[in-house]
């Protein structure tokens, strides 16, 4: 039993992202993503798949799903939580894949990392039409493994927009309606 516990903790800490490594690791992953995009110009789905493989361990999709639904999340049954988590992650990833088609090789450059109230904000910059815009990756400390819980793209928080949309849908419908809307978003057009 002891050996299993030790092995478990060794594996967890071997893949844990430390605060001091966030900037370097993220810049490497971003650069690698740009290469993947360049090599897979005609196949955005394949590019997205490879990029997710790079970033999957850094994003806490479960917490993102929970934050998007706010206090309503805790009222769901375990089965509903699982369904929602899966639908949310799929929606987030598909949305990202679709946006890759609009991406025209702007570079994302890490500027700085600011630590504030148990959170760390990695600021990256992108120049579009001569204007500098910022993408901020928001990290939190999950048992000494720093994970992303939100991304601000040009000042727009992904989680905040999901929260408002879900709140609006739930005010006019039930959880089933929300799940249907979340799962039926059409990315094929």
């Amino acid at each position: 039993m002891k050996k299993i516990v030790v092995l478990f903790f060794s594996i967890v800490f071997a893949f844990a992202l430390n605060l001091q490594d966030i900037s370097k690791t993220m810049q490497e992953k971003i650069d690698e993503s740009l290469k993947i995009l360049d090599q897979n110009k005609n196949d955005k789905s394949k590019a997205a798949e490879k990029i997710f493989a790079l970033f999957d361990g850094v994003f806490d999709y479960e917490l993102m799903a929970k934050l998007s639904l706010s206090v309503r999340y805790e009222k769901l049954s375990e089965n509903e939580k699982n369904q929602f988590n899966k639908a949310f992650e799929k929606n987030l990833k598909k949305s990202f894949t679709d946006k890759l088609a609009l991406y025209d090789s702007q570079k994302l450059k890490v500027i700085d990392l600011e630590e504030k109230n148990k959170r760390a904000f990695l600021k990256t910059s992108m120049i579009v039409d001569g204007k500098e815009n910022f993408v901020i990756f928001k990290f939190y400390n999950k048992n000494n493994d720093w994970q992303i819980y939100d991304v601000d793209i040009f000042g727009i928080s992904i989680i905040q927009t999901y929260r408002s949309q879900f709140k609006d849908v739930l005010q006019n419908g039930d959880f089933k309606t929300l799940l249907e809307k979340l799962s039926s978003v059409d990315f094929s057009k």
Binding site: G130, F187, K189
Partner: protein
Amino acid sequence: MLKYILCLCLFLNTLVLANDFEDFEQEYQKKEIEDSFYTYNKAMSKFNYDLYTYFLRPVALSYKSVVPSFVRTGVKNAFDTTRSPFRFINHLLSLEFRKAGEEFGRFCVNVIFGFGLLDSASKTSLKSYEADFGTTLGKWGVGSGPHLVLPVLGPYNVRDALALPVDWFMVPEGYIENFWVGVGVNATLKLNELSFEHEKIDDIYQNSVDYYTFIRDAYEQRRQELIKSRR
């Protein structure tokens, strides 16, 4: 013994996560948007959606298929160059002299080396910064007021909508005397802009769980970000 330690660890972990969740909740509650005109906004948003889907989008796609890319890019750059004095004035009104200087530099480079049709300034280190009278008012502490969707023009808030007439007198199109020429020039500029933006708009309309709420939040958050960057 090991079992008890593991149980204790899990219990402490649950407590920490619960605390963390409270912190997150507070972080997001602060950013909720005031929407006193919700019913009107939602209806107007649906009107704009229909207008875009059944009229503006097909016209923009036809325009895009007929007009060569370099012409559209030239018009886009000319449109941006004519807005340079507009941004310059707003930087001055906000006492942002460094940004005003950079904007003036970009304007000179684009006019001299690009005849206003090429974005030559982007090859230099001079940056452009978004600015309009709404964000200038915001910088001086004027609150945004409730969110407001305008017909055809789309998402605004009360402050930005009231700033529109001032914005209008800071751009050259506002000084075209012949009414129909003015309508023609403005329509062409908007159509040209739409020929670059339609994929992004399609993405929002097709891929959002609720497009009105998404656009409202994205607009208000972006405006707050622009005002913050001008402080």
